[in-house]
């Protein structure tokens, strides 16, 4: 059991899966000798050669379309989108095509492909290196979407994604890459897609969150504990399908639901979590279903001052906890 960063867990997992299974290949921009701009693929081309670690032309639609074609012909491609902000040209191949391969062929074909998408802000990325892009993927039947926030989950969910016989979008928060460290067992394990996890049990109020905000929420929960509030923190981990059972159980048990996200709130993951709770837990709640997110402006300013003002922070989360707890 070694302590690893998130990015190292991602890299080691790909290394291990590529060793285990010849059909696993990696493709994307700068994934070869550069090792990826975040070094997620560092050393892979040296280990597996240019046939299995492919530096593609700068063209995301073809990265995903080629991955899809290779997937239906026996490969298990892992496509890397360099930054989430650049996934938009590939939407047609992912949302339009990959999601419907199995359904549209009545099961004759399937597409075992993984798309890794580094996303999120707080990295001085400005409008085009900070985006959260989960909404459309999480909306689309036929796709699975995972968003691990810890090195342990990054490995376990990436293994599940690679071995899945259907397309999986893996959202990796860029800010967690080197910030978050944790123990990662060396042996093989996987985490089933579709399971949320209670990362901190509590009884007074439930926070539902994912990605970087998990860590901020855990910090806020610690701070709240100091004033005697016992806050539960649920890490959604999978954004499609959402784990309705765990969500509903937690909200019903604590009676108060606070949903935290970095993405802008309108029509988002937090909307869906709120809708699930509003439908399933109505009679058990004793406070409004509360959401905390950034303002409805394009995410997110390059200015460090404004970036900090844009992002939810442990302090803002603590405020929201206190406000909701008082109701």
């Amino acid at each position: 059991m070694a302590e690893q960063t998130v990015i190292e867990a991602v890299r080691q997992t790909m290394l291990a899966e590529m060793k285990r299974d010849d059909s696993v290949i990696v493709l994307g921009e700068d994934v070869g000798s550069r090792g990826g701009v975040f070094l997620a693929t560092d050393g892979l081309v040296e280990e597996f050669g240019e046939n299995r670690v492919i530096d593609t032309p700068l063209a995301e639609s073809s990265i995903c379309g080629v991955a899809l074609g290779a997937a239906v012909n026996g490969m298990r491609p892992i496509a890397e989108i360099q930054f989430a902000d650049f996934v938009w040209p590939a939407i047609n191949q992912l949302v339009g095509e990959a999601s419907k391969v199995r359904y549209g062929t009545n099961g004759v074909k399937n597409a075992p492909m993984t798309v890794r998408v580094p996303y999120g802000g707080g990295v001085r990325g400005g409008l085009y290196h900070s985006q959260s892009i989960e909404v459309l993927f999480a909306h689309t039947p036929g796709l699975s979407v995972v968003a691990p926030a810890t090195p342990y989950d990054a490995k376990g969910l990436l293994v599940s994604a690679i071995r899945s016989n259907d397309p999986v979008i893996v959202l990796e928060h860029k800010r967690t890459y080197r910030l978050v460290k944790g123990d990662v067992p060396e042996e093989n394990y996987s985490i089933p897609i579709g399971n949320a996890e209670i990362k901190r049990p509590g009884s007074d109020l439930s926070i539902f969150t994912y990605g970087l905000m998990l860590h901020y929420s855990l910090q806020a929960a610690e701070m709240a504990a100091a004033s005697g509030l016992n806050v539960e923190v649920v890490d959604l981990r999978t954004l499609r399908p959402l784990d309705e059972e765990t969500i509903a159980e937690s909200a019903s048990r604590t009676g108060k639901a606070l949903i935290i996200q970095e993405d802008t709130p309108a029509v988002s993951i937090s909307s869906e979590v709120a809708a699930i709770i509003g439908e399933k837990c109505f009679f058990d709640l004793d406070g409004p279903i509360t959401r905390l997110g950034p303002p409805e402006i394009p995410p997110m300013p390059f200015s460090p001052v404004q970036e900090a003002a844009f992002m939810p922070s442990p302090e803002k989360i603590l405020d929201a906890i206190n406000k909701l707890a008082q109701i």
Binding site: S62, Y103, V108
Partner: protein
């Protein structure tokens, strides 16, 4: 081109690499395709088929293209106008009709999709979506997998002149060119993207001329000429199997009918343009070629037509009587093992 080919056939009773027997066989498929295609339009007019795109005018190109390939190992990424190609690849008329009539036993997609969409259970022939040009990067990926596996298979991807404008077409050809993939880009250029004529689609005359921008050969052929198409395809297939990379083939054809059963091409084509097309009907051209080459007599031709008609009638009766799908199956195959891809 026909003329030369014709000559060689006179001497050897084979034409290029195609024997006279095979030529007659191809003609038989073309005629069957035409009858079935006409039937489908009729079924649409009767309110039984929701929509149909026709291959009328594209038949010669499609049979000749498939003839140069090996269905036991090759991959075919078709688009909605590959009606004749599907028959040439062994799809039965009943199977085609199940698609148009949205019957339960539809082999391609179990009535989830438009006809000719989905994947064939016997040949590696598929068409995931109706979204123009998405199949081109996918084809590059299929071919990439074969290259990695060291397989001998060739991937053939079909598209129209309209599809040539899409970004995906460029990205696919570029990727295939970089990796010298065993893929053939086969463009059926009928000079129209629905109503938009070629001159509003591109500032040049020939799609094939773009191949040089990707580092592989581009060939323009007369798509009503079975021999010319077959020859170009054979060269491309040889090239691909030898590991020398892609070829772009552009076959010039006519779209004899409106874009689909929903369209009325008199809104945008001149009477003269429509009139002139009939000179380029591949069925008459092929019939004449065979007759001039002493490969077909008038009475043989008649019986080919009669048999096609019988076959189509039989298929229509069979499929018409078959059941529609029930509701429950619509939940299948969203994800592996799921009868429901829902949020739980």
């Amino acid at each position: 081109m026909s003329a030369t080919a014709n000559q060689s056939s006179k001497t050897s009773n084979t034409t290029g690499r195609l024997s006279g027997d095979r030529l007659v066989e191809l003609y038989r498929t073309m005629v069957l395709s035409r009858y079935l295609d006409e039937r489908v339009w009729l079924l649409n007019r009767q309110g039984k088929a929701a929509i149909a795109a026709s291959a009328q005018g594209h038949e010669a190109t499609q049979v000749a293209c498939i003839e140069a390939t090996d269905p036991s190992q090759d991959h075919y990424l078709i688009y909605y106008r590959q009606f004749t190609a599907m028959l040439a690849l062994g799809t039965e008329p009943e199977e085609m009709l199940r698609g148009f009539l949205a019957k339960e036993a539809d082999p391609m997609n179990a009535a989830r999709q438009f006809p000719l969409h989905g994947a064939h259970p016997r040949v590696d022939l598929f068409n995931f979506s109706n979204v123009i040009a998405t199949q081109l990067p996918q084809a590059a990926g299929v071919a990439l997998a074969d290259k990695l596996k060291g397989s001998d298979a060739v991937t053939i991807v079909f598209f129209g002149d309209g599809a040539s404008s899409q970004g995906d077409t460029h990205e696919a050809m570029n990727f295939a060119g970089v990796h010298k993939l065993p893929v053939i880009f086969f463009c059926e250029n009928n000079r129209y993207a629905i109503s938009v004529p070629l001159e509003n689609q591109m500032g040049i005359e020939s799609v094939a001329s773009r191949a040089s921008g990707y580092g592989f050969p581009g060939v323009q052929v007369d798509g009503t000429d079975v021999l010319a198409v077959h020859e170009a395809m054979t060269a491309a297939v040889d090239r691909a199997r030898a590991g020398d990379g892609p070829t772009l083939i552009e076959a010039s054809v006519e779209r004899l009918l409106p874009h689909t059963t929903d369209d009325d091409h008199t809104r945008y084509r001149s009477a003269d343009d429509i009139e002139k097309m009939s000179d380029r009907d591949p069925i008459s051209i092929m019939s004449e070629l065979l007759k001039r080459s002493d490969l077909l007599t008038d009475s043989q031709d008649e019986s080919i037509h009669a048999n096609a008609k019988k076959r189509v009638n039989h298929a229509t009766d069979t499929v018409d009587a078959e059941p529609y799908p029930g509701v429950e199956s619509m939940f299948d195959h969203v994800l592996e093992g799921s009868a429901n891809g829902g949020n739980s």
